[in-house]
Every structure is written in structure tokens, then in C-alpha cells.
Symmetry: C2
DNA sequence: GAACTTTATGCAAACGTTTGCAATTATTTT
DNA sequence: AAAATAATTGCAAACGTTTGCATAAAGTTC
């Protein structure tokens, strides 16, 4: 360990210039001669110097930090373990890093209800990315109303005064259902809770497809977990027997839970029941039969989320944006 | 939005006391009379006050932030999408929050090689939690040598001058293998790369069990991904046919990849091949057949990781610690 | 070569907390 | 009742940057 932590003033003394010059040089300020800049940067590297971000943030009123809030509904069992949400967080992390921003990971437990206060007024972060709309938009709306730079991963069609980036859930739901219909399924279950914004859109897409095929809709409303799906399908089978021949699941985890329940009863997938999920997580490809799914382009979405946040940080306005979505056709719906 | 962001001085003026008193009151300093403390806290809440963390950190030389580094090997495809690692991160987040600490999520891309410098000297964080040892401990050792408060999730038996918390991988490997032997398997494959610290221990546990049963070890060394496992097993089957009747996989994702390859060829699990994974991720329970697995108690581990980091922050020494591990017996190895 | 513009650097004042020490007031001891 | 002690609070100096403004040096124009 170094005897003493170097500060800007020390570096300045070493170089025989003022602290202002060093500060500007390290920030690549064009006021400083290129030659001087290079020299000072090299000196900094050589002496293993690193800026005190606390001081820098205090003075410049900027943190270069973005808070990412994983927004669970309190009523649900969907948790920090949800692979899809975590995948999104991972990709947001990458997208932020590429812009030189850092990621403060948070959740409702830590942040409380007043996000503007907790993150922005306290200078913990410059902006917020919310992953998941949840059922209750109160916190998000309050933060947006307080003028916080904010973007949300969710359903972009939800009317809002803040930008929402997300997949075209309606089209996704319709695509999946049309695909199931095309395989010959007549009685297609929607498996998921339409009360949730994104899932609601998927449900409406499902309804649209069902209606135009003059089929009969049927919803099994469950929590967004594989366990709930497993139980839900099991109970349905016990109560009414095999009364369906297709399932449109609101997520892959839910689909996989349903798949397990079916397989345990030796109901063939896709022959007896065709199945389509949503999200296209890694497991969709690895499950057996592999799971057809609506693929969300989370990587592209993450980049756009960060762009829109950046735009707001620079005082511009940003609109919601729909990300293209596509059906990945695998074994679970092939017949 | 408020007209102006309140600061400590404003609050002090409002209350008719000095800033020192307000500062101490909000930090629950016993120097301040309880009555005054309560009054000031209420006033702060009422006015929606929140401390400027930048200023606070600058002055107090403490951030209350912990950097979490997901430590991938550059050579591997194991990614931010790995559900197990993300689960660990999620639980570390919870454990940190319970101690009032925040989580700065990072990766090698952002942090570079000199972690001490990037995180600690720059006052971005007070300490570091590294998730995953990786194959190359250079960065970790350098940081530890620089005196950085640091804990690692990994293989606790690895000799180190920093605390490593993790499961008893040797016992886990042995348990899994003994279990497979007990089901009657004779030719048990180890599926995974023993060059990786934790997996190496699992491999040695496997070897111990194999040797004491006088069976013959056989390793299929692959990258830690389900895709690699799928390909690896496929290739082996093509090249040599079904030359094994048990697989000890180094992770659940790997096991699930192998499972898919087997199922595609109508090789019965567990009858033809018994299978045990490692990690006990959510999918283990949902796959069909459900996957026997060695369960790592990530929640307990996360709490301990945070405790040990806290201890170091308070200047104490912390040792590596082994977390109990247990076999979860499911269908994939039942016969 | 004087007057002006351009380029490069330095001075010093913030940014908003925390904290050692001093000062004041209340309580106890002699 | 004076002296000593304990309980509260305030003063003012940090913490290490960034940045508006002033200044100095160099280059340009007439």
C-alpha cells in the first residue's frame, strides 16, 4: 500500500503546475495544450493516481452514476432471482459502462418510495432506470413528476410522461397465439396475470388473435413464477382434465413450470398441448422439448434505454419506444 | 419539484440550531439530546430533506458503498447471464442493504486491473466483493495486497491472504459422486473444467469417491455453459456411444445441457444415465425429470460475505469460511 | 513596435458535509 | 454557595475537486 494517497495537489506539485491545470488536463479540457495534457495523464498513470470521486461529485454536481431499480410488486413471488430481469440488468450494466456510467443496483427496500429524494437529491445518481413497471406506477410517476431523469423497461404503449422502452407485447401475444392457432390448437390457455402492464398487453394480443379466429379465450391467472404455473396447470388438470390443447405463457419460466406439470402427466408436448413462452431465456433452448418463445431483444433495448436516459441528462426530451419482437419457433409448438 | 434543494444549513436555520447539531442529530449521535434528535429528524422528513452523499463522503472518507465485481474469465463464454452468479449478486444485494450498504455493480471491463485504485483510492466504494475466483487470481491478490477490504465468493479451501467464502466443493463433488455410485452407476463422467478453482475441488471430490469405489474416472472438460455441455455430450455419444451411466456435472446449467443431449437420443434419465448437477438453481426443480443437485446456500453465504467485509472495514481480520452443502435428491438420479 | 487577439495557465472561491475543540448551560459534589 | 463535573450545543476548519475570472505568454495585425 502506498504511504499516502496522492491527490490532485500532489500531482500538480510533482509536475510543477497548478491543480487547475491538472484537473483540466485529466478531463481532456481543450483549454490545456495537448502536449501538457499528455504529459500530465502519463504522470497520473505512472503514479497510480486516481481522482477522489466524492470531491469531484460534490464540486461538479454530477455523479456519472445511474441507479437501476428492480421494481417488484410487493404481492408477487417474482424475485431478484428472476432470470429474465437479471439478464436485463446485466445488459444495462454493459450499456452503461460503454458510456462511462456506473451502475448502482437498488431495489424498493433500499430506495423507499421517494426515489427523487433518495437517489437524485442525495446525489447518489444522476438518473434512474427502472426495470419493470410493476402493477402500481405511483413511485415512477412521482419521480418523473419531480423532474428526475428516468427511463423504464416495460410496456411502451402505456401512456406516460416518461419514456418506456420495451417490446411490442401486444404483437408478441398475437404472434404467439396465431402461431399456436396455426399449429391447429383450438383451446388455447393464456397463462399469466393480465393485471400486470406488460402481461396485460400480451393478453390483449392473445385476445385479438383468439377473437379473429372465433375461438374461446381462457385465462389462468397466476403469479409470474414457474412454481405458480406448475400448480396452476396441475390444479386445472385435476379439476377439469385436459381441457386445452395450447398454452400461451406470459414468460418462459411460467411456460417451463407448465411444461413440467404436463410432462409429469405424460401429456405430450407439442402433440397434445402446444406451448409458447415469452422472453427467450437461455433455458428455452435447453429445455426438452425446446420451448418456442417470443424473443425480446434485451441488448438493443438496454442500449436504447441508456441513450434515452443520456438524452434526458442533457436536457432533451425522450419518447417511449417499441422494440421489435420475434417468434423463435422450437419444438414445443411444432406439429 | 422543489424550488431549491434543501441543505443542512437551511434545515439548521429552520430549526434555529447549528449545522453541527443537525448533522449529529441525523446521524443519531448520542451527544445530542434525544428530544432534539427526534425533533430534527421529524423536521428533516417533513421537509423532504436528504443529505448530499457526495459531500458526506468527501468529509467522512466513507462511502457506505460496496463494489461487487462479477469476475469472469476472459476465455469463457460464461456470462453475465449465468443464472447462478446473478442469483448470488441478488442475494448479496439484499444482505448489503440490510446493513445499510449500497451495491455498485461492476465488471472487469469497467474496473480494469487495478481494483484498489479504481474503487478504493477513488472513493467509489469502501470495499469489494468479488463473485467468482476465475482462473487467474492476479487482480484479487493485487487488491488484497494493497490492503483493500475484500471478500471473495469462491472456493474457501484455496490458500489465500483474503477471506474466501463458498461451499465445500470437495464434499459436494464427493457427495454427488457417491450418490451416483449408490444408485448403481459404474461409469461416471465428470463434466466440467477442473482448471477452474471451484470446479477443481468438485473434481477432486469426484475423484476421491471414484477411487474409493475403485471405479474409473473420466473427465469431459468443457466450458461452463449449457451449450458447451450439450455439444460435449453429443460429440462423446457420436464418437463412443453410450459409454457411461452417470454424470456429475459441474453446474446445473451444464447438467441441463447434458440432459437435453441425452433426451434427444432417447437415453433415459435416470435409468440409462443418472445425473447430478451443482448449484440447485430454480430450473433444477422445474426441469423434467427434475434435476438432483448439490445445493449451495447462497443466502447464508451472502450474509457471511457481508459480515466478513464489515469486519475488515472495522479493521479486523477475517478468515475464509466453508458453507455447508447438501444434496437435493430429485428424479434425475432416482433408481 | 504598439495594439490587439489568441492560447495557455494560475488564483481562489465554491460544493455541503463532518468533527475536534471550545463554550455554554445544567447538574452534582464538597 | 462555590467548585467541579457532566450534558448539550456551536464555531470553524477541514475533505479534494472544479471552474469563473484574471493573468501571462505568444502570435497577429496594422
Amino acid at each position: 500500500m502506498n504511504n499516502k494517497q496522492l491527490k490532485l495537489a500532489d500531482l500538480a506539485k510533482l509536475a510543477g503546475v497548478s491543480t487547475s491545470t491538472v484537473s483540466r488536463a485529466l478531463n481532456d479540457n481543450p483549454l490545456i495544450k495537448q502536449e501538457t495534457r499528455d504529459k500530465l495523464k502519463q504522470l497520473a498513470k505512472q503514479h497510480n493516481f486516481s481522482l477522489n470521486t466524492a470531491a469531484s461529485r460534490l464540486r461538479s454536481q454530477k455523479t456519472n452514476v445511474v441507479a437501476v431499480i428492480i421494481n417488484f410488486d410487493s404481492g408477487t413471488e417474482q424475485s431478484i432471482n428472476d432470470p429474465f430481469l437479471l439478464k436485463v440488468v446485466g445488459e444495462i450494466n454493459l450499456a452503461l459502462n460503454k458510456q462511462g456510467l456506473e451502475l448502482l443496483l437498488s431495489n424498493s427496500f433500499m430506495a423507499g418510495d421517494d426515489w427523487a429524494n433518495y437517489f437524485i437529491n442525495s446525489r447518489r445518481a444522476d438518473g434512474i432506470i427502472v426495470v419493470g413497471q410493476g402493477k402500481d406506477p405511483t413511485n415512477i410517476e412521482a419521480a418523473a413528476a419531480a423532474g428526475v431523469p428516468l427511463v423504464v423497461w416495460g410496456d411502451p404503449k402505456t401512456p406516460s410522461n416518461y419514456p418506456i422502452v420495451g417490446s411490442d407485447n401486444f404483437v408478441g401475444g398475437r404472434l404467439a397465439t396465431e402461431h399456436l392457432l396455426a399449429t391447429g390448437a383450438k383451446n388455447i390457455l393464456f397463462l399469466g396475470d393480465p393485471g400486470h402492464a406488460e402481461i396485460g398487453e400480451r393478453y390483449r394480443g392473445y385476445l385479438a388473435a383468439i377473437n379473429s379466429a372465433k375461438a374461446i379465450p381462457h385465462v389462468v391467472s397466476i403469479d409470474i413464477t414457474s412454481g405458480a404455473a406448475y400448480q396452476g396447470i396441475n390444479q386445472l388438470l385435476v379439476a377439469k382434465g385436459l381441457c386445452f390443447d395450447g398454452i400461451m405463457a406470459c414468460s418462459d419460466m411460467v411456460a417451463l413450470g407448465a411444461m413440467k406439470a404436463l410432462k409429469e402427466r405424460y401429456i405430450s408436448i407439442p402433440n397434445d398441448v402446444a406451448l409458447v413462452g415469452f422472453d427467450d431465456i437461455a433455458m428455452a433452448d435447453i429445455s426438452h422439448p425446446s420451448l418456442s418463445s417470443i424473443k425480446q431483444n434485451t441488448q438493443q433495448a438496454s442500449v436504447i434505454l441508456v441513450e434515452k436516459l443520456l438524452a434526458q441528462l442533457q436536457g432533451h426530451f425522450a419518447e417511449s419506444q417499441v422494440i421489435e419482437i420475434e417468434l423463435v419457433n422450437r419444438q414445443s409448438s411444432k406439429r
